[in-house]
């Protein structure tokens, strides 16, 4: 089949599948949230509420399109479209399945193969995603929307830096930014060559920064319901509102695939999908393995939502500028050091843990020093002193 037809077919399948998948991810999110909070969750439409997404989709499609009179119409309508467009574009260079000889010729699990700057392309496109939020917030002509949009733009611009810098070490180690090539290197070596062993710190930082980029809890200050009603999408309803959420969930899917591909070996799984496995239908197994990894990341994101409370804005900025950026720089220097002097890669694992611990100590000390500089600060007594008094609690009780 000619190349262009395969490309068109892939684009068609991806563009058609993503909204449906996103719909069911919302159901998953509601069910998982219900499970975590000891509720039942949606169970009215269909068996176990399985048709709930369809009902919701139809409702959103048929709802009246309200455009408030006080908005800037062009930008108001452009913003949700931009949000979806950028999220979908970023998916173009993500291999969502095995890209090797085992796949039958008419299938290709990536829209744009062989992009030399794959990762940078994704960063470039996702950095445009903030326009959807900023324009939506500004065009709505509403205080809460504007506040949400301002928070979002500061947040996204800040977290872009650690997001990009955390994978620089990985790129340096692998010598490429091409996602297919990055996946190939890990799948050839088996589980012991997954990048998470050599860059555990980078993996955590990448995942955290991408959560912030996607505006997911605990980083959803741009839309936090308790303070801002809905943040930048306060004035949106019906399908326009749904498009914003389609953008957010597409972003989640992209992040999950990226984290699986960059750090968890892509489709590689010991005994089941190795580079040497050669049974019929192996490509399907590989595809399912990668999907499974991405799915677990999505579940992790949803469960994080009910585990970690939302940050305060200054904490959010401190996390980016005072913790993640210096840490990712140190990580990069560590990789450069190892590469230059030809050390074994496993030193990177030790080094990452060391960096993590060292930064924890430094942060705690800095925090204490900062608190101590504040007027009216009472230094908490050491636990040992409290125990010596005969109480196991209540420092400063006397």
């Amino acid at each position: 089949m000619p190349e262009i037809l395969i490309t068109l077919l892939t684009i068609g399948v991806v563009v058609a599948a993503i909204p449906g998948v996103c719909n069911y991810l919302i159901l998953l999110e509601r069910k998982l949230s219900a499970w975590m909070q000891d509720r039942i969750g949606p169970n009215r439409v269909g068996p176990m509420g399985l048709f709930q997404p369809l009902a919701d989709g139809i409702k959103l499609l048929l709802k009246e399109e309200v455009v408030p009179p006080h908005v800037d119409k062009v930008l108001y309508l452009l913003a949700p479209a931009l949000s979806v467009f950028t999220a979908m574009m970023a998916f173009a260079v993500v291999p969502f399945g095995p890209v090797d000889d085992s796949v039958p010729g008419f299938l290709r699990f990536i829209i744009a193969p062989n992009i030399n700057i794959g990762l940078i392309f994704i960063f470039a496109i996702t950095s445009l995603g903030v326009y959807g939020i900023v324009l939506g917030g500004w065009a709505s002509n509403n205080k809460y929307s504007a506040l949400g949009a301002m928070r979002a733009s500061a947040q996204v611009v800040s977290y872009e830096i650690p997001l990009g810098m955390s994978v620089l070490g990985l790129a340096l180690m692998s010598g490429t930014l091409n996602l297919e090539e990055l996946m190939h290197q890990q799948t050839q070596g088996g589980i012991m060559s997954w990048n998470i062993w050599f860059q555990p710190l980078a993996a955590i930082m990448f995942f955290t920064a991408s959560l912030a980029e996607a505006n997911r809890l605990p980083f959803d200050l741009a839309e936090c319901e308790q303070e801002l009603i809905g943040g930048w999408h306060t004035e949106y309803s019906a399908l326009k509102w749904a498009l914003f959420f389609l953008g957010e969930y597409t972003h989640m899917i992209t992040i999950s695939f990226l984290t699986s591909i960059l750090f968890l070996g892509g489709w590689n799984l010991p005994f089941i999908a190795e580079a040497t496995s050669n049974y019929p239908g192996v490509w399907l197994v590989k595809l399912l393995v990668l999907f499974g990894k991405a799915f677990s990341f999505i579940c992790l994101m949803i469960m994080l939502r009910w585990t970690i409370p939302r940050f305060r804005f200054d904490q959010l900025m401190e996390l980016a500028w005072k913790v993640m950026i210096p840490l990712s720089l140190a990580n990069l220097v560590m990789v450069m050091f190892c590469m230059q002097f030809g050390f074994n890669r496993w030193w990177l694992f030790v080094g990452s843990l060391g960096l993590f611990a060292a930064w924890g100590v430094i942060s705690a000390n800095l925090r204490e020093a900062e608190l101590a500089a504040r007027p009216g600060y009472v230094k908490p007594k050491k636990k040992a002193a409290a125990v010596a008094h005969g109480h196991g609690h209540a420092a400063g009780h006397h």
């Binding site: 940078i120 470039a124 445009l128 900023v134 500004w138 504007a146």
Partner: protein, 287 residues
């Protein structure tokens, strides 16, 4: 000068028409004055058309040619719309689109990294910061001074004289002598000539495609180190290096241009240290 004027009447006519159109479209001195837009648009379109006709050279493949014209014309149009927009938010957005169109031109010249980096830095960060400031500063709509353009006549004249100089230099095909002058002028000009940025890029791409391969074609949004050294990102002096991909770019930056890269890095470091030193401390009452 006179020879060039006689040899390329089309360019001159196009430039003049275009300048008149842009001047017409600029927001007037009094905020709220409304001028009919149609004549300005007609002049701009006619000028743009004549100018493109006079300086464009067809490229080899049809698809390339179509994409080149789409990107080049949209970059120019977005530039015009940016300086003529009344609303600063729209101006910032047109700026973003002009940047994206220029990145498309970079892609056509097989410089994907330059394109992606420009998107990240300009469209993704700089213009978002503009929007941020506009939103933060003008909650109650744009201020009066933002809805009109000061010195529009001078700005238009200087921008189009600069554009004419660029066109003349390129059409005389003395690129070896011309390049430093052109770039020096572009650097010396202030933000008044903002529309000339995408224009220059389009023009240079246009004539660069006709120039012999390997001839020095200056990158339009080039960092400051470029004119000092022979060859550049888009067409290396050394054909051995595959300049398009990341490896070639890295090798080139850290061997041929090492001094310039380090110089730029030091400059940025000094600037950021300066910014931190200037900003008030928490003890001095900030936040």
């Amino acid at each position: 000068m006179m020879d060039w004027l006689q040899a390329h009447p089309m360019t001159v006519v196009g430039l003049v028409l275009w300048a008149v159109g842009v001047l017409w479209l600029m927001p007037g001195r009094q905020a709220g004055s409304t001028r009919p837009k149609i004549p300005g648009l007609l002049f701009t379109a006619a000028g743009l058309f004549a100018f493109c006709l006079s300086c464009g050279k067809p490229q080899t493949q049809l698809a390339d040619e179509v994409m080149f014209w789409v990107f080049a014309v949209s970059a120019l149009l977005c530039g015009v719309l940016m300086i003529t927009a009344k609303n600063p938010v729209y101006a910032a957005l047109w700026f973003a689109l002009a940047t994206l169109a220029t990145c498309g031109l970079f892609l056509l010249q097989s410089a994907p990294f330059l394109a992606a980096a420009t998107i990240i830095v300009y469209a993704g960060a700089v213009i978002v910061t503009f929007l941020f400031v506009i939103m933060l500063a003008q909650q109650s709509g744009a201020a009066g001074y933002d809805q009109k353009s000061g010195q529009s006549v001078m700005a238009t004249i200087s921008a189009f004289v600069l554009l004419g100089a660029v066109a003349m230099t390129l059409q005389q095909e003395k690129l070896e002598i011309g390049v430093p002058i052109v770039v020096a002028k572009a650097k010396g000009a202030s933000d008044e000539v903002a529309p000339a940025q995408p224009n220059m890029s389009a023009m240079m791409q246009a004539s660069g495609s006709g120039a012999p391969a390997g001839g020095p074609t200056p990158p339009p949004d080039a960092p400051e180190e470029k004119p000092a050294v022979p060859g550049n990102l888009l067409s290396s002096a050394d054909p051995e290096h595959a300049v398009g991909d990341l490896k070639g770019l890295g090798r080139s930056l850290f061997s041929d241009y090492l001094f310039a890269v380090e110089l730029a890095g030091t400059l940025l470091l000094v600037a950021s240290i300066g910014a931190i030193a200037l900003a008030p401390r928490r003890e001095q009452g900030a936040l």
